[in-house]
Subunit: 174 residues, 2 copies
């Protein structure tokens, strides 16, 4: 789909198609529809990022809290969104050794206990080694820094999900 | 559950239980968890309403766009949330005559075409006669007035859904 096709979508189709570019936050996509028409892929992405940036800090924490644990109980029970299931599987989260799985569970709990929101990282830009390393390192950060870092990861995830749905500007120019 | 039990919930349980008090907007509930502990049912409700009120106008429209049509295609296909299915059924939305169903469909489309978001009304405080009357009347309003009116209805729906989950303050005092 190119950006002109995106701009032609009624809000119901727009929310159906793009509602999960930010995990379990169709409110964001639905809000951004007000800003159409978008001049480009980048303009659509920017509108989403600007909406996120304008939320109060509690709202940014709310976005993080809508994300599942990496390699958490929902990965094996099939309770993840389709997008998250694919991303976690590609990053090897379903193929951890017993020791790795235990470490991931322990660090996820430590992270959530410390910050009150889950560890969020763009799984498609990492593998199990870098994810475990980042999780361990980031447990040491301050809450405000982690909130900002998590939101930065949410935006990376969003960009990749958008790229799976809309032709990016570079592609349009070919 | 009383308010002290609510305050003791980890964010994951809080979002699981209260994530749909605003239809398909778990982001709002997840954000409000930051504000705990809540001194009362009313304080919890107020925190949700304050979060909604602080959103930009596009965000309020986004909330409305997360709501299904009343007596729309999803009512019969089973694609509604549990809460919305119950509320619409209680209001008689699944038992419209053929003429009423046609009128509802026509007015829903007129409303969405005019405003870019769906007609939202607290079904549990209405029946099919008042819903059809309100829908017909509200199609004549201005967009800003309807946005505000729709958000007012969202808050009524939220209060009733909360009352189904948490003992209200009056009940606590008994």
């Amino acid at each position: 789909m190119d950006i002109s096709a995106v701009n032609a979508l009624p809000y119901e189709d727009f929310v159906n198609i793009f509602g999960n570019v930010v995990e379990k936050c169709p409110l964001i996509t639905a809000a951004v529809w007000t800003r159409r028409p978008f001049t480009s892929f980048n303009a659509l992405e920017a509108a989403i990022n600007e909406f996120i940036d304008a939320l109060p800090e509690s709202g940014k924490e709310g976005i993080l809290r809508c994300h599942p644990d990496l390699a958490g109980k929902h990965l094996h029970s099939g309770a993840l969104t389709r997008e998250s299931q694919e991303e976690q599987t590609r990053a090897g989260m379903d193929a951890l050794s017993s020791a790795e799985a235990s470490q991931m569970t322990r660090l996820n709990e430590e992270y959530k206990g410390r910050f009150g929101f889950p560890f969020v990282i763009c799984a498609r830009m990492n593998d199990k080694v870098t994810i475990l390393h980042e999780l361990s390192e980031r447990c040491q950060n301050e809450r405000a820094a982690e909130r900002a870092r998590g939101i930065g990861e949410v935006k990376k995830i969003c960009r990749l999900r958008l790229q799976g749905l809309v032709l990016s500007d570079a592609t349009n120019k070919l």
